[in-house]
């Protein structure tokens, strides 16, 4: 008999208050629970209970870049951010372009036990954009890959993109495109506009993103395939996707938390913490992205969690790496950007951070509603714990967060994965305990 937990008086996404009993890896009961002898009680008063968050866009860095992050530390960051599943991007070393690499990642995730690690496969061999990777082998592997992406690079060759879109239909796959026209962004450093001209930084024009999205939705329409657009960052991209959806094209799109909150003005001090791909854009873009998320044009929020070692950010702007860590701060940032502003409610947050990403990624066991009988993947969030985001809130190996020192409106209190806590009372559970619980949960499932 595994430890059970009783969460008392939490607020469900629909606003109702309920007790939640977590038992044997499942949500045993939701409502008023009176018969929970032996359960560890978690006071849920004032907390929002959400289905465990699912991130469709995480860079775990292992294998190859373990100085930035490992599967263990990356999933610890996920747990601290309320995530119970992460899709691991393929730009590792070696690149996740074979069944062997994706199976290794998935098993490292299982062993660590902090979250489900669902590998993403590369679209092209070595992310080189020249020939297709073994998409079918990855799909049929034990890692069960359904999402393919060269993220970090754009599949810019239109013919290759067409073939990839067509090919993955055979196993209900989706191509997640990093939309960045390479020629238009040679040497690009920040959003192209008035500020880039003033700061003397090579511009990263919105059209470099929008033109690829426009091409790709037309390709997806032509071959009748499913397309997912990574980290949409401009108002123009939103318009293209809105048009495509209205036309019935099977396209989904994501926005990152940072593109919902931060603007290019932060670049003015040349602080590389704010250097990211795609770049921070204008206030108008942020407004358009929020509206698009609220009206469903953009389907999900995905973190693009991109850890880098300290030295990669302690440099002049040009030499600094692109990217920000985002798992630990994602929910509070979404809270600030679209909940506090009245654009969305908690049920919408559950949709864009859990249900929709699980659906787009074809990930079973995640993203379901908090009802009796469903897998116990859930998150407790305190929406009134406004505080300055500091290093203590970061649980991964890297600290390149753009929010350090910034006040965020709430904090994750607890995360339950496969029925056991990975994060409790604002503290990460120890690695050996979590690995042990994960092993027990697997035995239960097989026994």
């Amino acid at each position: 008999m595994r430890e059970s937990h009783l969460i008392t008086g939490a607020t469900l996404p629909n606003g109702e208050r309920a007790d939640i009993l977590v038992q044997n890896g499942l949500i045993a009961k939701v409502g008023t629970v009176t018969d929970a002898a032996g359960a560890t009680v978690v006071d849920g008063d004032g907390l929002i209970a959400l289905p465990g968050l699912v991130d469709l866009h995480t860079h775990l860095r292992e294998p190859g870049y373990e100085q930035s992050e490992t599967v263990l530390t990356g999933t610890q960051a996920a747990a601290a951010g309320g995530f119970t599943a992460v899709f691991a991007m393929a730009n590792t070393f070696p690149v996740a372009d074979t069944a062997g690499v994706v199976e290794q990642e998935a098993s490292l995730g299982r062993a660590a036990g902090y979250a489900t690690v669902q590998p993403i496969g590369a679209v092209t061999v070595g992310l080189k954009g020249a020939e297709l990777a073994e998409l079918g082998a990855m799909a049929r592997s034990r890692a069960n890959v359904r999402v393919f992406s060269d993220d970090g690079f754009c599949v810019s060759d239109p013919l290759l993109m067409r073939r990839a879109l067509e090919y993955v239909k055979a196993f209900d796959g989706v191509i997640a495109q990093h939309a960045q026209e390479p020629r238009l962004t040679e040497g690009a450093q920040m959003n192209e506009g008035a500020l880039s001209g003033e700061l003397g930084l090579t511009g990263w024009p919105a059209v470099a993103e929008e033109s690829i999205i426009a091409r790709d939705v037309l390709l997806a329409e032509h071959v009748g395939s499913r397309l997912h657009v990574c980290h949409v960052s401009t108002a123009g991209s939103v318009e293209v996707i809105r048009w495509a959806k209205a036309r019935g094209i099977d396209v989904t799109a994501e926005v990152t938390p940072h593109h919902l909150l931060l603007t290019e003005d932060l670049v003015a001090g040349y602080d590389p913490r704010f250097k990211v791909n795609p770049p921070l854009r204008r206030t108008e873009d942020v407004q358009a992205l929020r509206a698009a998320l609220a009206d469903g044009t953009i389907d999900i929020v995905a973190t693009d969690h991109a850890p880098h070692p300290v030295e990669a950010k302690e440099s002049e702007w040009d030499a600094a790496a692109n990217g920000m860590v985002g798992l630990e701060s994602a929910l509070a940032v979404v809270h600030a950007a679209v909940v506090e502003t009245g654009l969305m409610g908690w049920a919408d947050v559950a949709r864009v951070l859990s249900e929709a990403p699980a659906r787009i990624g074809r990930l079973r066991g995640h993203g379901g509603a908090l009802v009796a009988g469903s897998p116990a993947e859930l998150t407790l969030y305190d929406p009134s714990a406004a505080s300055a985001f500091d290093l203590d809130r970061l649980a991964g190996r890297s600290t390149n967060s753009p929010y350090l020192g910034r006040t965020l409106p709430g904090a994750v209190v607890a995360t339950f994965h496969s029925g056991y806590p990975t994060y409790l009372d604002g503290v990460l559970r120890p690695a050996d305990e979590v690995a042990q619980r994960a092993a027990e949960a697997r035995e239960d499932a097989h026994g």
Binding site: E192, S196, G200, L201, Y270, S315
Partner: protein
């Protein structure tokens, strides 16, 4: 003044004050004893990540004439290009006790990063960063303009009503940026002329007119025409078809030069591509300020070093 990073954040009185100090420095340059004891015991490091012999020599002369100790740190071809970071270099300079760092860097914003990172206590002078700013060049240009226009009565004056046309590769020019902010702060009117491919996409917030027609700009008889250097590599990136066409449309050739009255100054930050952006006759004419610009460069840089390093530390 704690650092000199850009002309964007120079207030008018501050800018005029600096030009006035440069007048004092220029007066010293006319004496037999050209050296002042002012910065005795201070150490100035010339930290050059990009080759520029003229700028380095100008700063070196300025620091030496103020009796500072000068250390030249050419980062090109040293351990820096082999992966040693700006941070490591800065910490080395800090350990050496640098009071002032004059930095030339290929990355826009590197001087600001150096000044604000906390790696170093020294005052930082931007000697040109990427395609961002080159404040001492703009200050020497303003100084040159003011001296030509007002002579001995220059002190305390701005450049009110002075009309300056800057011609060429505005997009990549740190000289153009620093001049736009500084000259307009001093009251001048600035027009930028060049091919549309070499203009920033959005200059709506710039206090300058934008034009593509050099002849039209010259028809308005500006007080000064500043020709910018065209880098050879721009030709290979489709900014314009070839040098012949560039010279014909945006070069200060003999015909255009002949149309200018003798009162219009011809400026160039150097080094010049004679026959490309500027014809030899214009460059060598009495209207040309090119040689004065070099001499004035030392005075302006002495003024900047004086204002940065002579007072008590930690004051802003």
């Amino acid at each position: 003044m704690r650092h000199l990073l850009s002309t964007r954040d120079l207030e008018r009185p501050e800018a005029i004050g600096l030009l006035d100090v440069a007048e004092d420095m220029a007066a010293v340059q006319e004496r037999e004893v050209k050296k002042l004891p002012t910065l005795r015991g201070k150490t100035v490091v010339n930290l050059f990540f990009e080759d520029s012999t003229r700028t380095r020599i100008s700063f070196e002369a300025a620091a030496k004439r103020l009796s500072a100790d000068v250390i030249n740190f050419s980062a090109k071809g040293s351990s820096v290009s082999k992966g040693e970071s700006l941070k490591d270099t800065a910490q080395t300079l800090q350990a050496m006790g640098a009071d002032g760092v004059v930095i030339r860097h290929h990355a826009s914003g590197a001087p600001q990063t150096l000044a604000t990172s906390g790696w170093i206590d020294a005052g930082v002078v931007n000697a040109g960063d990427g395609t961002h700013e080159h404040p001492t060049q703009a200050l020497l240009d303003a100084f040159t303009l003011r001296r030509r226009l007002h002579g001995r009565a220059s002190r305390g004056r701005g450049l009110d009503g002075t009309r300056v046309v800057i011609v060429g590769d505005i997009l990549h020019s740190r000289v153009a940026r620093s001049n736009v902010w500084l000259l307009t702060t001093l009251g001048a009117e600035v027009e930028l002329v060049g091919p549309p491919t070499l203009m920033p996409v959005d200059t709506s917030a710039w206090p300058a007119r934008i034009g593509y027609d050099l002849d039209a700009a010259l028809d308005e008889v500006p007080d000064a025409v500043m020709m910018l250097r065209i880098q050879a590599e721009r030709m290979h990136a489709a900014y314009f078809p070839n040098s012949r066409e560039y010279a014909r449309i945006w070069g200060l050739d003999d015909a255009r030069f002949d149309r200018l009255p003798p009162t219009t100054m011809v400026m160039h930050p150097g080094p010049m591509n004679r026959g490309l952006e500027i014809a030899a006759r214009a460059a060598d004419s009495p209207q040309s300020t090119v040689r004065e610009q070099v001499a004035n460069g030392v005075s302006v840089r002495m003024a900047a070093l004086y204002l940065l390093l002579s007072g008590e530390r930690g004051e802003s």
